[in-house]
Symmetry: C2
Subunit: 436 residues, 2 copies
């Protein structure tokens, strides 16, 4: 008779949700402060949207369903295809650059592991309509500032930056044909995970005639743009020089924004998704023990694939799961500011109607207020207030000679004070917060 | 190539999401102020959870899917079964009464009509662990206060209150056997929708030997508890007297809370869901032209069905769709407070690095800040600032003799002032907000 939660989903009891809500608040505040507007879209989309827009890995993990009319639907595994669809539908009406964010729930039927769930939240930040690399820098800035606001420093995490355009130019310069770039990226994506001997064998079998794996490995292990330009054909490739210049400019802009200490070049970052066309980046904890906290990059072709004119775009997704693991490890998982709650109690049961009036009145004027549902002896009510950790109690009927007088006690200092009920209700915040 | 959104889902562009986010903010603030804690649960649940807990109508509308292991899942059509599962799993550890709220996305494969979508948001407020009717009153209070905070008055909406226990006692008193109560409720639920002649025919065929439809109709059209007690067998039923007393007490408590003007007894309210056991209620716009804004009631048996001891509970769900229609009709659909945004511009392109530093510095100190991605002539930058409706512009390089001086212009009054860059960055809020 007991039905468990589905594996990879979460029962978010209040104490588990509170730190996630604090993360949401920071994501939202930082987005708005950087000029991004919030949007949202459907959880349910036509399956075709992902078949055409997402990488193979995501399509394999889709939760699919069929509606009553027999149409194939899917639960969104990422937000970008929905974003592209929404922007494409209004591309001419929206002023550019479009700076949008959202915090959707996403679904992926993958294996549940540390840092990976099947249902999770993901902050998405995107700029559409600007080809300027300032947009890439701003998007990275937003991500860094949010983690900073959550308490993380440059000792805790770093932004690893690469450039798909640069990597394409590098492969082109070495003479690797374009239709084989996908295979090359897939291998490069496994660079850190495969045994070096394994890696060399795979790479040299496929591409050794163009570029030796030893050369590639040196380049990928360095964080130096020169290392790319020194590869075979590199010095003579205009395309490669331009992509390197773009990457240099990005690093300069990040320095102008004052976040150099967080940012480093790292050619190991490839990004699985098919649609990236320029700078790509991933945020990692400094120990690199956890999965990426955040990943994103430039995807200038995606809107073009929606049947619209090509529209430059850059953005990232940051999930709540890996981020929460890192915050927890650093002792930074917080539940936000504790509410100041007052507790109203009554010395006699006959005061219940007054008590209910006072409770509703305080709440209506913005004061979080609690009370005992059933009348109990005053000692029991006080104990209940204490257990709830309230900041003050308000006692009705404390003075039997004057029913209009209420006694307020502050729990922290223990100070007590009597005020007229009407005065309290007229401006409760003033009465409760002023110096006594 | 163009893939549309799924019918009954919403592409929430920023201007469409803003009023919904304002509703969320009010729901959340009002919940917390009334002592409720936020929780959340999975969107995906095992199909069996709803097969057993939800009414037939909802089960028929479920979005079903099968996971990779062949297990049958469903998208949640309501939150209560998840809540019951979560509470049942920790029933002994949680201090009572449990006062929780959440704002889930729900999914129902029903016909799309005015006020009905297939994917929507719903505020859920529940008290578990108190059999006291004060809990019922408090839950209604929370709903009323939220609508009040959104700008609605007692001229705009009313809470229609009935009692399933009272209706059961009424049917019992008339001699209608318990196993036929379900049929009776289903008919009563259609009271307002069926043609009166139709209604009479259906009712009298089924139950005329116990209770004439004319009598039932008089009762259902009245808002008087006496009308129930006067029905056949009513005066002699202890059960009925108790349920009537409970309903009277609820109305008194609502008066104590100061919301009598919003509340009325209405026996036409039945509530489709199977699990209600006591007071039930629905919020309607005064014209009663729209569907219910909110519906809820007491469901003391649901946790017992989860294999735990019977646990008293009361709660409601309020969707965003009908509420938004009503707010729009009343001119109360707002986008919340407008952000005060400043715009930083530079007189010369050589100032770009300084500009980026200033932009990041202002944002880091909490000031929403915008700028043009590419340098443009100052007039064009000003035009852009104007189009964005910013509250102030900050111009770098306004004084060519002193590069440390920036000029601030307030858009509303047109006042201008020059300050040192360092002074601005040290405490931008003070500089921007103080009287000049």
């Amino acid at each position: 008779m007991k039905i468990p939660p589905v594996k990879g989903t979460r029962d978010l009891y209040p104490e588990l949700l509170a730190p996630i809500r604090r993360i949401f608040d920071v994501w939202r505040d930082v987005s708005i402060r950087h000029g991004f507007e919030e949007y949202d879209g459907p959880t349910l989309e036509y399956l075709d949207l992902y078949r055409e827009k997402s990488g193979e890995e995501l399509v394999g993990q889709l939760y699919r369903l069929t509606d009553s009319g027999g149409r194939e639907l899917a639960l969104r595994p990422e937000m970008t295809p929905t974003l592209a669809r929404m922007v494409a539908a209004r591309i001419n009406a929206l002023p550019k650059p479009i700076k949008w964010f959202c915090i959707p729930t996403l679904f992926r039927g993958e294996n549940v592991q540390r840092g990976r769930l099947r249902e999770f939240f993901q902050w998405n930040v995107d700029v559409i309509g600007s080809a300027d690399v300032v947009a890439d820098a701003e998007v990275i800035l937003v991500g860094v500032e949010a983690l900073r606001e959550l308490g993380l420093t440059s000792a805790d995490f770093a932004v690893h930056i690469s450039n798909r355009r640069l990597m394409a130019a590098m492969l082109n310069a070495a003479g690797i044909p374009e239709d084989r770039h996908g295979v090359a990226y897939a291998l490069m994506d496994k660079f850190g995970k495969l045994d070096p001997v394994e890696f060399d064998r795979h790479w040299d079998t496929a591409f050794g005639s163009h570029l030796l794996s030893a050369q590639l490995r040196d380049m990928m292990s360095s964080s130096d743009l020169d290392a790319v330009e020194s590869l075979p054909g590199g010095r003579n490739s205009k395309e490669l020089r331009e992509a390197a210049a773009e990457t240099r400019r990005l690093m300069e802009l990040l320095a102008n924004f004052g976040i150099t200490e967080f940012c480093r070049i790292d050619f190991r970052v490839v990004r699985g998704l098919a649609y990236y066309t320029g700078p790509v980046f991933e945020f990692y904890d400094r120990s690199e023990k956890e999965r990426a906290i955040c990943g994103g990059g430039r995807y200038d072709d995606l809107l073009g694939k929606m049947g619209k004119s090509r529209e430059p775009a850059v953005g990232f997704g940051m999930g709540d799961v890996v981020l929460s693991l890192l915050l927890e490890e650093k002792g930074l998982l917080q539940t936000g500011r504790k509410q100041q709650v007052v507790f109203v109690l009554d010395a006699e049961e006959s005061l219940r109607p007054t008590l209910l009036r006072v409770v509703a009145g305080l709440r209506r004027r913005g004061v979080p207020t609690e009370f005992a549902y059933s009348w109990q002896a005053i000692g029991k009510q006080l104990k209940l207030a204490d257990k709830k950790g309230v900041s003050a109690v308000i006692m009705l009927g404390a003075d039997s000679t004057n029913p209009q007088l209420v006694r307020i006690k502050r729990m922290a200092g223990g100070q007590e004070r009597e005020v007229a009920l009407d005065e309290l209700l007229a401006d409760p915040r003033r009465v409760l917060e002023q110096d006594w």
